[in-house]
Symmetry: C2
Subunit: 280 residues, 2 copies
């Protein structure tokens, strides 16, 4: 099966839901000392395995945020490798949130590092920054349709538009380039936080998979997603699922808590009734 | 000393020269099996230590390309940690070529991962992609002036201009934003391969450190650098120093070979007579 087929099947089974795997140390249910990186990495590894176990019955995909693992050095990267392997075994589609972007043999090395099944991670897909131009994407296109990538077209942060621009700017050119590739494994990151532009992005990319961050914690709502639902859609929630909203005392049974919140996220998104048009 | 002061001192002593640390496996002087990642990482670690030893007397800075290390997984990242520590001990300014770019707590995690002295690497500076907007650079600005960063303004690849644009486009806006920060630790990557634009970039950024890739192997020449030399300049060579041009049989005494080529690169750049204006 191709990446797009795997993702469509997973979304058909469990809804258009993705959970970020963001081991933000101050929020973890277990106390850690970031200075003791090997010990902290072991805690992050065990927490990641708990999250995979908790969310796998409820959501289509998981999106590990590599920065949090890299901040712990080599033991953190080893923990990421364990977490990705566990997520793949659990049947989750794994989208590595790495936002890589480089050229030539360096881009090839990033593709090996993130996607190759005989490499250290073998994720299903990776997020990519398009800043270095179309040629920087070649090694990732070469791995499609078996593997996938999501280009950062329009991110969900308030200042995203400063240099990305909107549908009429550089981000729009990136979107048009994606459409011209006619490659189902090549999707787009389009934030849920710019609802006024949502319809324009979907018009530019009627058939592309959209990975939509910014839902929930960053202010994106179900209503903001409706303009995107005419095409294939995967909506991400990170902190809203991983951690209790209260910020109160640490959860005693945190695996159950993550599971409850993942189920609630899936139920909320079910109201969108956008189960993968690509799978139909 | 601040990052800009450390870099200026190193350039004053050894010229405006930076060597990339790119363990491109097919070119290494020792045979490796990329499938055996731990063993390959040990070879890459030893090769990196040899390169540091060979180039330290001749050049101002070293620029490890993290993608090649990451392709080997956790053992590769451990090798990178060893190489960076050795380069710092040898007095080289270490610029991590990571091209990171993310937002919020994720950007903070990347800053910890790359720059913090109590983190895994503690490099002097890092390369950053500006695609996510000015706010993505906050955690790195917060670490200046002790640490530094080079924004990818205009890269050296042939297709760089597609979405970066030139001095009148988005890349120009990024350059103007850099100038407005008035932060000596914040530099720019400006490729040597677009000589027609060189004077315009220097006009936009008269006082910023330029990290210039593309010299030598990618076609940039001494003449292309002259328009940039009115401000502080660091010129990078990677394969031209690391590996013999012939592509013939592997060098027997490869440490001596790297040292000879680093000395030749330094001698060539000495003709530019651009020893750090910032240090004068």
């Amino acid at each position: 099966m191709t990446f797009a087929e795997r993702l469509a099947a997973s979304v058909a089974a469990r809804g258009p839901t993705c959970v970020g795997l963001d081991p933000h140390l101050p929020l973890l249910p277990l106390a850690v000392d970031p200075q003791r990186r090997a010990e902290t990495a072991a805690v992050v590894r065990d927490w990641s395995l708990g999250v995979v176990e908790a969310v796998a019955p409820h959501v289509a995909a998981i999106k590990p945020q590599v920065a949090f693992f890299e901040a712990l050095g080599a033991p953190g990267v080893a923990a990421l490798e364990v977490a990705v392997a566990a997520a793949r075994r659990a049947g989750l589609v794994v989208i590595l949130d790495a936002k890589r972007g480089d050229i030539g043999s360096t881009a090839e090395a990033y593709a090996q590092a993130t996607l190759d099944d005989d490499g250290p991670l073998g994720a299903d897909a990776v997020t990519l920054s398009p800043w270095l131009g179309p040629e920087s994407l070649g090694p990732f296109l070469a791995r499609m349709p078996q593997k996938g990538a999501f280009l950062l077209v329009r991110t969900s942060n308030p200042g995203a538009g400063a240099w990305q621009g909107g549908p009429e700017g550089v981000a729009g050119e990136v979107a048009r380039w994606i459409a011209a590739q006619r490659q189902p494994g090549l999707g787009a990151v389009v934030g849920a936080t710019v609802p006024a532009e949502a319809a324009a992005w979907r018009t530019l990319l009627p058939e592309a998979w959209f990975l939509v961050p910014g839902f929930g914690a960053q202010g994106g709502t179900l209503a903001d997603l409706r303009a995107l639902r005419s095409g294939p859609l995967l909506v991400n929630s990170s902190r809203g699922v991983l951690f209790p909203a209260s910020g109160g005392p640490r959860e005693r049974d945190w695996v159950a808590g993550v599971g409850r919140r993942a189920a609630a996220f899936a139920a909320e998104l079910a109201a969108l009734d956008s189960r993968s048009p690509a799978a139909s």
